[in-house]
Amino acid sequence: MTAVESDKMTTNTSTLPHSRPALPRIVTDAMPVVVMAVGGLAAFWLFPNDLGLLTRILAAALFVMSLDMVLGYCGIATLGHAAMFGTGAYAAGIVAVNWVSDPLALLAVGGVAGGLIALATGALILHARGLTLLMLTIAVAQIVQEVANKARDWTGGSDGLSGIDPAPVLGLFRFDLYGRTSYLFALAVLIVGFLVARRIVRSPCGLACRGVREEPLRIAALGGSPRRYLVSMYAVAGVFAGIAGALTAITSGIVGLDSVGFSWSAEAMIMLVLGGTGRLYGAVIGTVAFMAIHHILASTDPFHWMLFIGLFLMGIVLFLPGGIASLSARVLPLVKGGR
């Protein structure tokens, strides 16, 4: 290959917009992690009586992040993502009740279970697109929910699976009544999960998935198999969803049929849309916003809180179509312009 003299080019690059902010990449990369860690620890100190809710938010954020890997990065519209979450939760719960109670091992069990169900179902349904695929994802979740309901001896059926008593984390930190260990454990899992997920979506496979979302034929002409990429990412997202389910099982001590339910999948999608797709940290923002508003409104007006959630969602979709996370992209140029 031979070089072409670039200085002969007529395009004036200085007038073109840049996709990356002026901040060094290491700063922009570190920012979400620092915000999560500092914000998480601040919440730990500020709301010691709400650690149960905060722990649920962290586990849900990991779940919504896994949905972002599927929807935001691959363009796979799914309303059955709870199938992976619930499978991971039940798998971890069953193993905890019957065999092993080490929390890290339970996370691994949940991840494997979520990944396997995602791999098996993804290979079957990801040839479809659009509404057909959406229906198939719902069907998968319904099947998993019905299996969980019928396998009463293992799952507890509609009563739920209880009696999950995890061992101390690393043999040192016992899960206490106040939920401190649960919260800090969930925060650590979320941050590590975020870092791993970001690494995955930036890998060649992750980039190819984004290419498939934009132009599948082009990826095929470049030698990649769009379906193989989608199934791979679907399975990886299933691992994350399974870990989120296991985390919920470990920290709450119970797994119910609602963890595989349609409404949980739908709520996850709402949280993701609120926060913004295709960013990973948007999933965290959306989950925090949705669950915090849900908690506040439901406690003040138990009958009409969904109305306010709906209005809030409509406002975001209409005025911030990129989600709350896109706010910074809109505000920063204004701040810079004002200087």
């Binding site: 290959m1 031979t2 070089a3 072409v4 003299e5 670039s6 002969k8 080019m9 007529t10 395009t11 690059t13 073109l16 917009p17 840049h18 996709s19 990356r20 060649p204 980039l207 190819a208 984004r210 290419g211 979302r213 934009e214 132009e215 034929l217 082009r218 990826i219 095929a220 002409a221 470049l222 030698g223 990649g224 198999s225 769009p226 295709g278």
Partner: protein, 241 residues
């Protein structure tokens, strides 16, 4: 006919009796021509004669009704687009198809197949402008830069045959010059579809002219350039001497 020596080199493309189109609609009829390894073919014709369909058919994005496509003796017609790319076909489409949500570097990575990231330097050596713009989004590039990116991305897969569908469309003359200069230094089989006939003939050693999905002329590019009657009849253009 290829000699024994040329058969050893990669990039020998044979198209025989290819009839293809979109669904039941047939655009190409009994298309037959071949390109020797490292040969450069300009595929010319008026609008709508099947040039782009030929390219799309080679990479498996149309419906084939009959005929065969062989690359270095391997039949491609039963293969998917991705398998054809693995077999050695690199395609730069008319639409360029840059992934707009990815940066320049990320776009290039999607073309690496299983090659290491260090191979990106090959693309930057061919088009230094891409290195300057590596962190920019694909949708923020000028037309020329997009074309460079599309070509570089295809080349990173190390194809033995490069298919270029109107790479100069919409580009400024100076950018066209630079792009053609870079392309002229490629050491591989190239099939070029281009509306700028003079540039295409300067680039190619062989010209294939299409009309209504059939090959109506095939011969040396230099001879075609001098045959004004041929150019006028099949392309409707008269080139400057």
């Amino acid at each position: 006919m290829p000699t024994k020596n040329t058969m050893k080199e990669k990039g020998f493309l044979e198209i025989a009796g290819l009839t293809a189109g979109y669904g039941e609609t047939r655009i190409l009829e009994d298309l037959t021509f071949s390109v020797l390894p490292k040969g450069r073919v300009a595929l010319l014709g008026r609008n709508g004669v099947g040039k782009t369909t030929t390219m799309a058919s080679l990479v498996g994005q149309t419906t084939r009704h009959a005929g065969s496509i062989r690359l270095d003796g391997v039949e491609l017609t039963g293969l998917s687009s991705s398998a054809r790319a693995d077999a050695g076909l690199g395609f730069v489409p008319q639409t360029r198809d840059i992934f707009k949500s990815l940066t320049v570097e990320e776009n290039l990575i999607t073309g690496l197949k299983s090659r290491p990231r260090s191979a990106l330097e090959e693309a930057y050596a061919l088009f230094p402008r891409l290195k300057e713009r590596r962190s920019n989004g694909g949708g923020q590039l000028s037309g020329g830069e997009q074309q460079m990116l599309s070509v570089a991305r295809a080349l990173l897969g190390q194809p033995s045959v490069l298919l270029l569908d109107e790479p100069l469309e919409g580009l400024a003359p100076v950018i066209c010059d630079q792009l053609m200069e870079a392309l002229s230094r490629l050491d591989m089989t190239v099939i070029l579809v281009e509306q700028q006939v003079d540039r295409a003939l300067d680039f190619a050693d062989t010209v294939v002219m299409l009309d209504r999905g059939r090959v109506v002329h095939m011969g040396p590019a230099a001879a075609a350039r001098d045959d004004h009657t041929l150019m006028e009849r099949h392309l409707g253009v008269a080139l400057a001497a």
